[in-house]
Assembly symmetry: C2
Homo-oligomer: 242 residues x 2
DNA sequence: CCCGTCGTGACTGCCTACAGTATACGGAGC
DNA sequence: GCTCCGTATACTGTAGGCAGTCACGACGGG
């Protein structure tokens, strides 16, 4: 995330293998192929991805740093199993960071940048109308990321990006019922940013994120049963074994 | 940072070597033995600490994740060289996180916990009076950490802790001139928390952190010259060589 | 029948070794 | 004398391998 670099964004020529592994594992986690609480055995993953254990280890530590897996010393890595409480806290923090981002964005955004936001918003609304959940979620993330970038605060942007990615994990099943209203809120937000009305932008973003949080919680309350204490036991045989 | 655990804080028996290395390197960076922009050669550090390269690599990646070093693929690790702009952004984010923490702390804190805060505050003021900068800074961090813990939001607490540690790096030279007033503000903050006055606590914390930020910036403006474009060249001979 | 103890297997943590690559130095050409 | 290029060096990235350790299962005792 080079945030708002001045045009000369440095792209390291050799993409380290650990990052490729990181992306791959992240995809496996988000897509659910690696289930919550599952024990991740380094050698199995290494064999699965066709690399050695070392890049896998490093990728697992990166994932641990961002809260995707839990690293138990001497015991290995386990896919993080988020509790309802934690999700709520995460959404609260997101609300905080994004609200501030919106406030700052309203102060700094140029007309050209506002246009980019509008374009994103239009595409997002189209995807929603078409019922394309995955694209909708992706565009939602992209729009929020764009706003944080406009805050002109790289540190804030990085933190928000990190939190957003985790939120996105829980968010996908919620996206459907947020539907159209979410994008109408986005449109209102962009208007406020275009006007340079910081207070208004912050207020809208606050309402928007809190709305999402409410929807998430209500959904959680419905399918209530959930977590029968996830498996922390050491796995001997599992879905990865052929 | 197990945040607000309920008494049974899990302490993994074998402390991984990478964490010890992490701590050691962090100390070397904060104390200035590793200067800004310096190229960190894995093998040298490994020899220095008497371990192999692997734990050093992993520690460097942890440090990179928290913004202490920059990892250039195929080139190695360099001690991060924070710009004035970045420091300002960091302080702004800290203000945001800590303000929210204070607000939440005021809602959740028990009388017993407030007492702990007061004790910390008293010790801090004593250290300041005694002119013990290091202890003052340490207690300052501890107090702020205690407040974020009282927010009862582990995610917020972790983020704030991370940001605070980085702030502390820049903060040490500033601590002296913040002096007594800082601890008076702390005392006022604790009063607000004790009263359960969330709004007041937030306001005080906002003013407190913004005050710190102002002092930092003014100090920066004074010793203005600064950064003669730090060394990014690859080092062949250096202070680590014996 | 339940509980403590020992044996076994498997996985992590760490070290060593190799290959690829970017940088720095020295020499040849202009 | 300056620039360009070849060679050498040293560092990173990756692989493989060994020892320590944790968990599980079986056996024997209460």
């Amino acid at each position: 995330m080079p945030s708002h670099s001045g045009g000369a964004m440095k792209i390291p020529r050799p993409i380290p293998l650990r990052e490729s592994v990181f992306e791959a594992l992240l995809e496996l986690i988000i897509s659910g192929q690696l289930t919550r609480g599952q024990h991740l055995v380094e050698s199995e993953l290494a064999a699965l991805l066709g690399v050695s254990r070392q890049p896998v280890r490093e990728a697992l530590q990166l994932l641990s740093g961002e809260g995707w897996v839990d690293l138990h010393p001497g015991q290995g890595a386990f896919v993080h199993s988020p509790t309802a409480e934690e999700a709520d806290q995460l959404l609260a923090v997101r609300a905080l960071l994004e609200t501030e981002s919106a406030r700052l964005a309203a102060r700094h955004a140029t007309a050209e940048e506002v246009e980019r936001l509008r374009a994103l918003c239009a595409r997002g609304m189209a995807a929603t109308e078409a019922g394309d959940i995955d694209t909708t979620v992706a565009l939602n993330s992209e729009l929020h990321a764009a706003v944080t970038e406009l805050s002109r605060n790289a540190v804030l942007g990085d933190l928000a990006a990190q939190v957003s990615r985790r939120v996105r994990w829980y968010y996908t099943p919620v996206a459907a019922r947020r539907g159209r209203s979410s994008w109408e809120e986005h449109a209102a937000l962009i208007d406020a940013i275009a006007d340079g009305d910081a207070g208004q932008a912050a207020t809208i973003m606050r309402a928007h994120t809190e709305h999402t949080r409410t929807v998430y919680l209500s959904r959680l309350a419905e399918e209530h049963p959930a977590s029968p204490e996830p498996v922390r036991r050491r796995r001997r045989r599992g879905p990865l074994d052929s």
